[in-house]
Symmetry: C2
Subunit: 203 residues, 2 copies
Amino acid sequence: MSHRDDLLAAARTLLEDKGYAHITARDLVAASGTNLASIGYHFGSKAGLLNAAIATVFEEWTDQLAELAMADPTASPIERGHVTWAAWLTGLAGRRRLLVSYIEALAQAERAPDLRRQLAELYRTCRVRVARLVAESLDDGTRGDDPRCRAVASFVVAVCDGLAVQSLVDPDGVPTPDDLLAGLATLWSASFPPDGNDTSGRT
Amino acid sequence: MSHRDDLLAAARTLLEDKGYAHITARDLVAASGTNLASIGYHFGSKAGLLNAAIATVFEEWTDQLAELAMADPTASPIERGHVTWAAWLTGLAGRRRLLVSYIEALAQAERAPDLRRQLAELYRTCRVRVARLVAESLDDGTRGDDPRCRAVASFVVAVCDGLAVQSLVDPDGVPTPDDLLAGLATLWSASFPPDGNDTSGRT
DNA sequence: AGGGGATTTATACGCCCGTATAGATCTGCT
DNA sequence: AGCAGATCTATACGGGCGTATAAATCCCCT
């Protein structure tokens, strides 16, 4: 195995249990059994290596999530939302360090255009993928690129991100998927009561 | 004015336009016209100073948001959600650097229990405050500590956080408040169609 | 006026960081 | 075998960081 591969593997491991911002070049060398200069040689810089690694890690993460959400093909969109959020929260609990890395990467992205583009791309494909799942569960021929599906996807993804942030700060205070559903129901029925009195002027 | 105040003021300014992680002790000294050792003397450490500053900054931010959401007392919950999200997004656009600071603080919080407690507290009070607003707009005597209100609050806050994260990575890809509402509507009506055929087994 | 605690100043210390350099070694081709 | 380019090794460099120290100064109280 080349040093290149060793470094990449070490970076992935360290990202999962040490956190992006606190990984030093010497950590990477120690964890990979390679040499300090190999980082520069193969990746240009420490940041180059880390960013290469981070892309693969998070892609896998969202892959797993998508699989989970697809698991039950008979579920309604709301149920899928529920399942997705539940799976997401479980995943988060077991991957705190990785989540920290993600948040750190988010912060770094502001100063690292490449990383930022990478993450933006990740989001876009993630939304597209979720939109496709939504279309599938609507089961009325709607396609994934339908604006409504995209809207649902944006929405679900936003909630996932919000949950991630909150679970980092205050794991015990994070709303459960049931809370979210209850909130959604309340929000909705208060504005569009089942009796037909639409208290909102919105279309 | 004491060095203590000067440092705190400088920290707040720097947080708004330089970002938590990249503020050095020497930056703080330069921006405040004080002395390197004053940081240690008054705050124990650089982190102590920064954390003291960050608490005040974000409290003000959420204060402003709450005021906005309350502005129109006749709005339905959904409308308030819409208004809040819209205001939030506008605020985000003009405060990127501050948002970066927030995200960086989030990451730091994992290793700084004090900061983390602070942020957790911030979230809890924020949720309580939002819950109160929700109760108010339900206008049927429901109190802010009603579980349904808390649920809505958790939900709205989660979406705000999600939007913040996404606006950092991909400002142009962030869903608009209209997108969110559309998503919500689709999600809801697909699961609980107006014709009464509840396609979901959920209660 | 003067004494003492609170504050401010100037500076030094030690640490660790990321990267560069230069030479050693390996690998595959002719 | 021998060359060349790719890769690996060992180490040095310069710099920036946060914090500690000790002396100077301020300010209030008696």
